[in-house]
Symmetry: C3
Subunit: 354 residues, 3 copies
């Protein structure tokens, strides 16, 4: 009975939000409707992720959630790059700002909220310490790979910088696939969380996967509708491109990760929540960003992998604090406070930047 | 019998040092008398801290020691800020230099000496590893909070920088109070060291607290008398303001932490010693420094939270090496050597700076 | 029978390579012969190291290997410094480039290959976690000691910079000897790996040590012959001095560490392999580099300890990723991939540098 109401609300708000978008109603109305719709589609996605995790295990479930969540971002970024290659090179900066925002949004906001809310409900939440240790090393690789081109850029000509960007990108994609091989095949068992008591699954296995795909698509659509209105809003309120790209769009764009990770943390499955948050930012840094460089090269104008000093600082501090907190394989509410504090400080700093 | 001699010497040297100060005798005489007096008042403070720790536990005892020790520094800094607001803005730099010196003095010199001397007496000294892990994350937050404004300052106007400094300060004070809530209330038990066999306490509970306050006030007074003479000395020997602020004043100003921490380490209570050293620098970074920014704003001219690159390097390397060493919850003499080596290198570098 | 063939090939290729060098044959022929000879002498060194480790323990064996390996580098560097003092100051930069290359070569390439190949044969390889933790702290000290002079150099005159370089160097050498005292005397037992089942030793104790010295000298000679031809090659292919110093020479110059470490890793003695790789880079940073500064001062013109920003970045990222990976006292193939990925990225960046 309760569930039927939920699906009814899900369908109605989704249709209302979509109609407002395609009919081009006022952006305030569009924003309000998308804001209500995203609550229900995110809830739907959370349920689907959990049901898939019931069959596939927490880690694979988390990986699927991260992948579907980032697929939408990848597609949006490729569209931007196409425009950038066709005469709007400034859009390369927008793409990099949204990559930055997505990494720090996952590592600080998604992880911070999951750890805080999970920690308020359960005193200590633990997960596989080996997984945490490996994730830290991979996050460090991401920072190094973005840091080196930026440090060497001033003493390279454009051609060499393009070569370096492409080489680093190819190496990162290779490292990411080997990581999947390592964590999903050769060392799968020792990286798994302890068996968690799962309740009955909501749906059958096939239906769960189908609903996961469906829910992700719905979240992606509603996010996009919301992002469209946000740009209008941001100009009205005088927000900078960098701030909108790195914070506003990233928060809405990561709705999939938010809803699923927090829901899992509240069910004491913090390992899966960490997998979504950390796994998603690793995927952005080691897969999405390099693929965008490679795609731009195939389109004829290579986007270099040189981030601004402010973006590097943001990514660096996010990685260091998340790594310091997650390294011991145990979380509590105060660690959530630490992550969110760093996020808010970064948000203010970017907001005040000229 | 032995104790009576101690209290007699304590009283006499304290009165002699105070008299020399208020009568304005030669600074060499003042320095010598304060140097003798500080040995006895520091010894008195060490006893009082240990006696309070007997009743309140090592961690609360350490916290009280750090708090009383920093209270004096906070008051001196507020006086400097009052002068800075009234037309001597250069004093803001002196305040920041002394904050820097206090953080690295606690993390490298106090912790280094405690770990070295404790390690020469006991082969390995252990303490609660969870506490060490949390302290590391908090130290990292301090570095991040000081690092971000410095990195963003060049692209902000004065007004925005003031806003950012105030915002960061308020967030840090909030994070510090939540940390107290976390470590003293919600997760108190699991952060405690294993029950240590305590001997009989020197005094009753009330008398211990009274003596702790009294000893702290005496240490603060003698430190101030000594600092007064040191400035005269430093001009005579051509030392820079920065070096005096960050090293000379900080070493004398942290006499309270020094004496108590080393005494505890020599009694194999390294957990309490680390609590004093690390806890004191956390309090400086997360409470004293932000409160000074807020106080300056209330006085009408906000001190920004932008430290020089050399100060940031000093704080950064101190946090990284202290964190690397303390993270495993075990210390030995060589780790003390490492901390002191970094301190001496930093001292030389600041001394040679033009 | 099989062994006799090995020693015959060892002797013949060594003599052939030496003859080509001293007869001044074409550099292509010299390179080819040295390339074949180095396979056999490196194999000989690996056997000798293992046999010594059988008697002296893995750690002392590893230390001896690192020391003999670095002795050759120290001698070559002193010859360069002599030339630098006598009117070719640019050679100071070559010395620093080769120090950089040796540190990152050991931490990334030697360690990476050992961990990767060992990890492909054994699922997880473990070693003493305390040793790993201490090594991390020491590596951090190395980075700090090289980082501080570079950060302070711009605000110091030449005389002060020389004083700082000498002071830091003396402190580092002192720290290194205290480290040997700590790890080989006062805390020897708790830093040892668990007793490993050793097979029968190849030779008697005395003969093992004799062969270790002999093999090291042979490796040093063949490396030098190869280095001589490489410089000719590098000019022909237009490689920069920095790239040749930091990568080409370092790879060949570390042949001793390579062969021994990989051979030990393949016999599941990863602790000894890590000791060689990490111990060798620690020895370079904390002993070889400072001794070179002191030697140059004794020759009348002090080489400062200021590395370029690119060298510091390379050393810094190598230390951070190696530390992140080794800190848990366990290795697997993917950690080898991570180390090698960072090495290749750095190699490309230096190669493309103008």
């Amino acid at each position: 009975m309760k569930k039927n109401w939920f699906y009814l609300a899900l369908g109605l708000t989704f249709i209302a939000s979509g109609s407002a978008h395609y009919l081009g109603l006022s952006s305030i109305l569009q924003f309000a409707l998308a804001g209500v719709a995203i609550i229900f589609v995110a809830g739907f996605l959370g349920r689907a992720t959990e049901s898939v995790a019931h069959y596939a295990g927490d880690r694979l479930g988390g990986f699927l959630n991260a992948t579907f969540g980032n697929a939408a971002e990848l597609i949006i970024a490729i569209i931007l790059i196409k425009d950038a290659v066709n005469g709007k090179p400034a859009l390369f900066d927008t793409v990099k700002a949204s990559i930055t925002g997505s990494i720090i949004g996952n590592l600080l906001l998604v992880l911070g909220l999951s750890v805080l809310l999970g920690g308020l409900k359960f005193k200590n939440q633990t997960y596989n310490i080996r997984m945490a240790s490996h994730s830290s090393s991979l996050m460090l690789l991401s920072v190094i790979a973005l840091f080196i081109p930026a440090m060497f850029a001033s003493r390279m000509n454009h051609e060499h910088l393009t070569t370096l960007s492409l080489t680093v990108s190819i190496l990162l994609v290779a490292a990411y696939f080997l990581w999947l091989l390592f964590s999903m095949v050769t060392h799968k068992n020792e990286l798994a969380d302890e068996a968690v008591e799962h309740g009955e699954a909501a749906w059958s296995k096939k239906l769960s996967i189908l609903f996961l795909v469906l829910a992700t698509v719905m979240v992606a659509l509603v996010s996009e509708w919301m992002v469209g209105t946000l740009e209008d809003f941001s100009h009205r309120f005088g927000l900078s491109e960098l701030f909108v790209g790195a914070f506003v769009i990233a928060i809405v764009g990561n709705a999939a990760e938010h809803s699923a990770a927090i829901m899992l943390a509240l069910k004491n499955k913090i390992g899966a929540a960490v997998e979504i948050a950390v796994g998603s930012s690793l995927q952005i840094a080691l897969f999405v960003a390099p693929v965008l460089v490679i795609v731009s090269a195939l389109m004829g104008q290579t986007m270099d992998i040189v981030f601004t000093i402010h973006e590097l600082v943001a990514i660096g501090v996010a990685v260091f604090i998340a790594s310091s907190i997650s390294r011991d394989g145990s979380t509590n509410w105060y660690e959530g406070v630490l992550l969110l504090t760093v996020y808010v400080i970064l948000g203010f700093a970017f907001f005040l930047l000229m």
